[in-house]
Symmetry: C2
């Protein structure tokens, strides 16, 4: 197995100023693995669903090369459910309801094939579960972790333990500020890099993303879109494109991380064009290449210093 | 005269989480002309101050090649005064007090030398006054206009008349949304470009700036800084570096506007490093070149499409 992702596989209710969608398939691991599927053929998901989760979606994931041996299906139980509402400023959202359901029973046990994974994406989830997955992977080449303010509030010590063990931390700007206690993202980055990770990716939604290591910083814009229909899963899709690109190339240097961030940003821009995972289901390589080319042109300039 | 700028020349009280400064020199035209002075040697200001305005500052402006024949000094009156407070999120600020003072008496009459200006920067001010300046310039090669939500609320018809006459509109993201009635910045840009200007620059503070023409879009990041000490005047400094760069090069094509935006962003990043205009007083060409080189590196990536 090239890539193993742990994260939620779920149902979402989504309201935006442009419409609403009920009980659509969502969850961090779903978005991550769909985005990564355009780059990696051998990947698996570690998660849990109830028997309400559609077989059709599972077949679609398998069709895209996503191994579901690590996806436990609990009979007589319901899948994780999240309901949220976006306003015109889609960088913020209100969570209306969260039903953990089967998530309470998630106790990951990796198969031998999963244990051999070289790339590990620890999607946003209880840091205790992230740690349990990481414990079982025998010799990962690269581990990335996404998390959120909820775990900083409720399980900071455990979260810091896991963060110390990963290569790349992927969080948003307000989370970087909360985790570091610094308002300046530059200072926040240096504080966080001293906690263990070699790289920090700071997602800023429609304002792009920053990549830091101890000495360097890179900025990737978000693509200005005519219409953001639904940003749900954009951050996970970013992470999926990012880790998928790295897994395909096998190069973990700063220059290649820049490419991975541009690729993740391209995938995230597609995600926002339709509700839920819909747009990630039917992308072509040509569309992805065209979007990446648009990113090249978006920031391209030449200037001669006098 | 190469460049003429109309705008306020004023005193500011500034409070930030990092400190406060009282009665420091400020005003849109001050920041614009100081930033432009690194690129243009023949420029003049159209504005008005009271007899409380320091002669030392006027001498410093003249030393930098800023002609003050258009700066009226009204005896026995006080200069425009603004007082504001920033919080940790420096993209937003509270205006604590505004005293128009001499600004009520501003009725610009341009000298012959000013009337021959090729570049005109209409800084944020009553659109009626912006129009009066523009009426008097005989054959401008390029006119840029900055404005704010206050004029959209209070003088929209007059503002739209002036906007229809300029080449470049420079506003921030919330102002672009208000002026166009569109939330998507892409849609907002197309709506605004249909009002007359050939180019639209959307400033997003710490999130960078976008340049639009009818067919193209360019994104320039803001430089991630260790510490933003005081963002007052950063937008005006951006405009000054932008128009100054264009005036020096004489090229108004899209590719050169990109360079002008990077240059404006570099100047704005310096502005934030100290209170008020302080940092703009002692910059060296070498510092500016180094900062522009940092912008080149900040967004530089190469990606091969597979």
């Amino acid at each position: 197995m090239k890539l193993v992702t742990v994260g939620t596989v779920a149902f979402d209710n989504i309201e935006t100023p442009f419409g609403k969608a009920e009980k659509v398939v969502g969850g961090a691991a779903t978005y991550i693995s769909l985005a990564a599927s355009y780059f990696v053929k051998e990947q698996g998901i570690v998660s849990v669903v109830g028997d309400d989760f559609p077989k059709k979606t599972m077949d679609e994931l398998r069709d895209r090369g996503v191994n579901l041996d690590g996806l436990e299906v609990l009979q007589g139980k319901e899948s994780f459910f999240w309901s949220g509402r976006y306003h015109y400023d889609m960088n913020a959202r209100d969570t209306l309801e969260t039903r953990l359901n089967v998530l309470m029973d998630l106790d990951p046990k990796l198969s031998d094939a999963y244990k051999e994974a070289k790339y590990v994406m620890l999607g946003n989830l209880d840091p205790g579960i992230q740690a349990k997955v990481l414990d079982q992977v025998e010799a990962p080449a690269l581990v990335a972790l996404d998390t959120m303010n909820f775990w900083m509030d409720s399980a900071l010590a455990k979260l810091k333990e896991v963060i110390a063990r990963v290569d790349i931390l992927v969080i948003n700007d307000s989370e970087a500020r909360q985790l570091s206690g610094e308002h300046s993202l530059v200072k926040a980055a240096h504080r966080i890099l001293s906690m263990g990770p070699r790289y920090l990716v700071v997602k800023k939604g429609e304002h792009g993303a920053l990549l830091f290591d101890k000495d360097r910083v890179f900025f990737a814009p978000a693509m200005p879109l005519d219409e953001v229909v639904d940003p749900t899963g954009a951050g996970d899709t970013f992470a999926g494109g990012f880790i998928g690109f790295l897994a395909r190339s096998g190069d973990h240097g700063f220059d290649n991380l820049k490419r991975a961030i541009i690729t993740g940003s391209a995938m995230a821009s597609f995600c926002c064009e339709k509700f839920g995972v819909e747009r990630l289901m039917d992308l072509t390589q040509e569309e992805i290449d065209q979007r990446i080319q648009q990113f090249v042109e978006l920031v391209d300039f030449d200037i001669e210093l006098v």
